[in-house]
């Protein structure tokens, strides 16, 4: 990996290779870090699914799963996936791998900060996973960590040391993400090649740029909230613990804090966070659809504007997570309307993708399959957005499996499919080889079927009133026990989804060594990362100049000047 990333430069010393500041090497490392996180996170979720399908099952070397153990699996699964996979892989991994080349820059603007950011994120992951080693186990208050539950160690097992690990880990993660975001912003603003105007930037670059702004603003608020919560836990403050709060037989509330304050701070971060996770995927899919349909993106300017608009509106919708939290119902109405408004630019993007595909005749490669899978899942998860945006319906659906289905489809599955699309597409940049198409197709179809099989039935469970975070559905009022057959079906689909990823892992390892050599510009793409020579370049055209109709040369890359063609 390092030999490749060093690419022609003098062979660096061991220390320099470990603490590299080379952006391509860092990109690959971020992706590998995400791979570790996604493997752990997936195994945790499969353990949860097995528990839900057969409550009381005896685990080898362990015995039955306790409810708090189940909750710590939920918490760690969510935290790993949201932060260390869906934020890290597209925004840190792909951006480092591709962004400087895509804008014709020599390298990232702040390499030292970039390298430091990576090791901070590694440390954050280690701190988070170490919570499992504590005697009381990992934190159990979910990835949202609502206080006072998360503010008082005696509120539950794992809420002591485990919760501290969570807070420190996420605090570190904020720091690492800032470094990456500052680096991305400065690079886009100052390092673009001559002629690479804003209006010629690929939509991926627009997405990374907007996501970086969101990270700076949103993670700052999260960091502040984490510091306040940490003070509540250890330094006797009461930002989030109300007067007279009584936990486990003791009065712990001596100040006059408000748990709702945390909800506001957390979701002010939490909602932009889902756009941080999905915007790079949206930008990538725009480019892939243009490439494999050999047509320019329909409405490029509108797509760039929609990306910015989604980013802006993303900051005024956080209250839709709080319709039933005790927030003023008038505020519920306002947040419902802003949330409906954000559906408009998102819908516009969907129509642009469909419009680009309109003429048919697609090159059905694996990256395109995953891009189309992203589109299908994005629509599937998107259509439930306007339903959950309505407080009148959310008062029934809030915190049920309907919501679980919604965000897993639109953020987790669509996000994962866009990451897969990116890896299949950019694999030649990392290894000089192509991934196996045959394995890729199997991986795609099995994953698509299993993803729908896993998450579609969850809508029905949610409509039936099944709440989240239940270690088993056979509760004392027995209203949910009838869902057990469906839980089993979902578990089988989830196991298939997990198993299908073994194909991907195998493909990854096999293709790194034995994959077909990619050569220059294997996808006949137009953007600068596929430039055969990395010399200074002058950009004279837009990012998606594909012209269907003409036979052989149906595209003009951004690095070609007018004189070079014909």
């Amino acid at each position: 990996m390092n030999d490749l990333s060093a690419g022609g430069r003098a062979r660096p010393t061991l220390l320099k290779r470990i603490f590299t500041t080379d952006d391509r090497a860092l990109g690959i490392r971020y992706l590998l870090l995400s791979l570790v996180a996604v493997i752990v996170g997936t195994l945790l979720s499969l353990a949860m699914r097995v528990q839900l399908a057969s409550p009381g099952i005896r685990w080898p070397l362990h015995g039955p799963m306790l409810p708090e153990e189940y909750l710590s699996l939920v918490t760690m699964h969510g935290t790993l996936m949201v932060f260390f996979v869906l934020t890290t892989a597209p925004q840190s991994g792909f951006a480092n791998l591709v962004l400087p080349q895509q804008i014709g820059a020599h390298r990232m603007a702040l390499p030292w900060l970039n390298g430091l950011g990576f090791w901070i994120v590694v440390l954050a992951l280690v701190v988070l996973l170490s919570a499992f080693l504590l005697p009381a186990g990992g934190p159990i208050s979910g990835w949202t960590s609502y206080p006072p539950y998360s503010a008082v160690a005696s509120a539950g097992p794992g809420q002591g040391g485990g919760m501290d690990c969570w807070l420190i880990s996420i605090g570190l993660f904020c720091l690492g993400s800032w470094f990456n975001a500052v680096n991305v912003l400065v690079t886009v603003l100052t390092e673009r090649a001559r002629g690479m105007t804003l209006g010629r930037m690929p939509l991926t670059v627009w997405s990374w740029f907007v996501s970086a702004i969101l990270i700076l603003l949103a993670f700052t608020v999260l960091f502040a909230a984490i510091v306040l919560l940490f003070c509540d836990r250890h330094f006797g403050t009461a930002f989030f613990i109300p007067q007279g709060d009584w936990i486990s037989g003791q009065v712990v509330g001596h100040g006059d804090g408000s748990p709702l304050l945390w909800l506001h701070l957390f979701w002010f971060f939490g909602h932009p966070e889902v756009y941080i996770a999905i915007l790079p995927g949206m930008g990538l899919v725009s480019g892939l659809i243009a490439n494999f349909s050999r047509r320019p993106v329909v409405g490029y300017r509108m797509m760039a504007a929609a990306t910015v608009l989604i980013g802006l509106l993303g900051f005024v919708v956080w209250g839709h997570h709080m319709f039933v939290s005790g927030m003023n119902p008038y505020a519920g109405t306002a947040f419902g309307l802003t949330t409906m408004a954000i559906a408009v630019p998102s819908t516009a993007e969907v129509f642009s993708w469909l419009g680009t595909l309109w003429g048919g005749g697609l090159r059905r490669t694996t990256p395109l399959l995953f891009a189309l899978g992203f589109l299908s899942l994005f629509i599937a998860g998107g259509v439930t957005g306007p339903i959950l945006a309505l407080p009148a319906l959310d008062q029934y659906l809030h915190n049920t499996f309907f919501v679980v289905a919604h965000f897993h489809l639109i953020m987790a599955m669509a996000g994962a499919f866009s990451i897969f699309a990116g890896i299949y597409y950019w694999f030649p940049l990392m290894t000089g080889r192509l991934m196996s198409e045959r394995l890729g197709r199997w991986h795609f179809w099995l994953s698509l079927i299993a993803a729908y099989g896993t998450f579609f039935p969850m809508h029905l469970e949610g409509l039936a009133g099944r709440p989240r975070h239940y270690a088993q559905v056979t509760g004392s009022t027995s209203s949910l026990a009838s869902l057990l057959p469906m839980e089993r079906g979902v578990t089988w689909a989830a196991l298939l989804l997990g198993a299908a990823q073994l194909l991907f892992l195998f493909n990854l390892i096999w293709s790194t060594r034995r994959g077909r050599p990619a050569g220059d510009n294997p996808w006949q793409a137009t953007t600068l990362e596929w430039r055969p020579v990395h010399a200074p370049v002058t950009v004279g055209r837009g990012p998606y100049e594909y012209h269907s109709g003409s036979s052989e040369e149906d595209f003009i890359p951004q690095w070609e000047t007018a004189s070079q063609q014909e």
Binding site: P67, V74, S141, G142, Y146, P147, P148, A155, G156, P242, Q243, D245, W246, S248, D256, G257, L260, V298, G299, M302, S325, G326, G336, L337, M340, A343, V344, F351, L354, T356, L357, G359, G360, G361, I379, V383, P386, I387, L390, P391, A392, L393, Q395, Y396, T400, L460, L463, A464, G465, P467, Y470, A471, Q472, G475, T477, S479, S482, L483, P485, S548
Partner: protein
């Protein structure tokens, strides 16, 4: 447990929801049916189109006009979003913007890891004071009622929520420890019980029966078993229940 089988037995008529038992639920259900149907149609149409475009052989013609591909369908969906928002906000406003009528039956819901307690104010229609220091479930005072307060003399604390049919209920929610979620699927009602905050929801049960009360906000290892029952009965049965419970308090 016929009701327990309801989600599977009549999935289509009620869109998988357990049958509604609250007055405002009629409007909520109508909204849910229309909106889920509309968005499911969008999902199906878009995905069928996607499959068709995937299989379609190449066509010579150039890109579609932005009007046909972009602005007209987007305009149609914006109209749909506006209709959805307007109808739903109307239901929300009617249900939540104003409090209960003065004549409503008042009950306080007290959430605690991992129990629901229902605090009836008694004949004086005033809740007695409670203090966290006095909480002691073993001594029969799970919500910490202050016995020296004159309003608490006639108060009832029950672990089951018994309500008369067709009478509006004003629920006052609070929590003694962490955030819990008060969720009664059949009443189409959910509201968090937040420590330090007293919030109100009101509704009118319109069907007799026993309905599960679930906790919808993760609150600890007992979250999944933090369940109770809401029993909706005739006014006669309700008064009889109240009288027996009152007698027990008096002793």
């Amino acid at each position: 447990m016929l009701r327990g089988a309801a989600p599977l037995a009549i999935p289509l008529r009620d869109w998988w929801m357990p049958p509604n038992a609250a007055a405002h639920g009629v409007a909520v259900d109508r909204l849910m049916r229309w909106d889920v149907a509309a968005m499911s149609t969008c999902f199906l149409l878009a995905n069928l189109l996607l499959v068709w475009l995937f299989l379609r052989p190449r066509r010579k013609s150039s890109a579609p006009s932005p009007w046909r591909a972009e602005f007209i369908p987007l305009g149609l969906l914006i109209v749909l979003y506006i209709v959805m928002a307007a109808t739903a906000e109307h239901v929300w406003a009617r249900e939540r913007f104003e409090g209960a009528a003065p004549a409503a039956l008042r009950v306080e819901v007290v959430a605690q890891q991992f129990q629901w307690y229902f605090h009836y104010p008694g004949i004086d229609a005033a809740y007695g004071e409670s203090r966290p220091q006095l909480i002691n479930a073993a001594l029969g005072n799970p919500i910490g009622l202050d016995p020296t307060d004159r309003h608490s003399k006639d108060d009832l604390v029950s672990s089951e929520l018994v309500l008369p049919i067709d009478r509006e209920v004003d629920l006052q929610l609070r929590s003694t420890d962490v955030i819990h979620g008060f969720f009664v699927p059949e009443m189409r009602l959910k509201q968090n019980a937040v420590p330090g905050v007293t919030s109100h929801v009101h509704f009118t049960p319109i069907r007799e029966g026993t309905y599960p009360i679930l906790c919808s906000q993760v609150c600890g290892s007992g979250h999944a078993r933090m369940q109770a029952h809401m029993r909706v009965v005739s006014p006669t049965v309700y008064n009889a229940w109240l009288a027996t419970r009152a007698k027990r308090v008096g002793q």
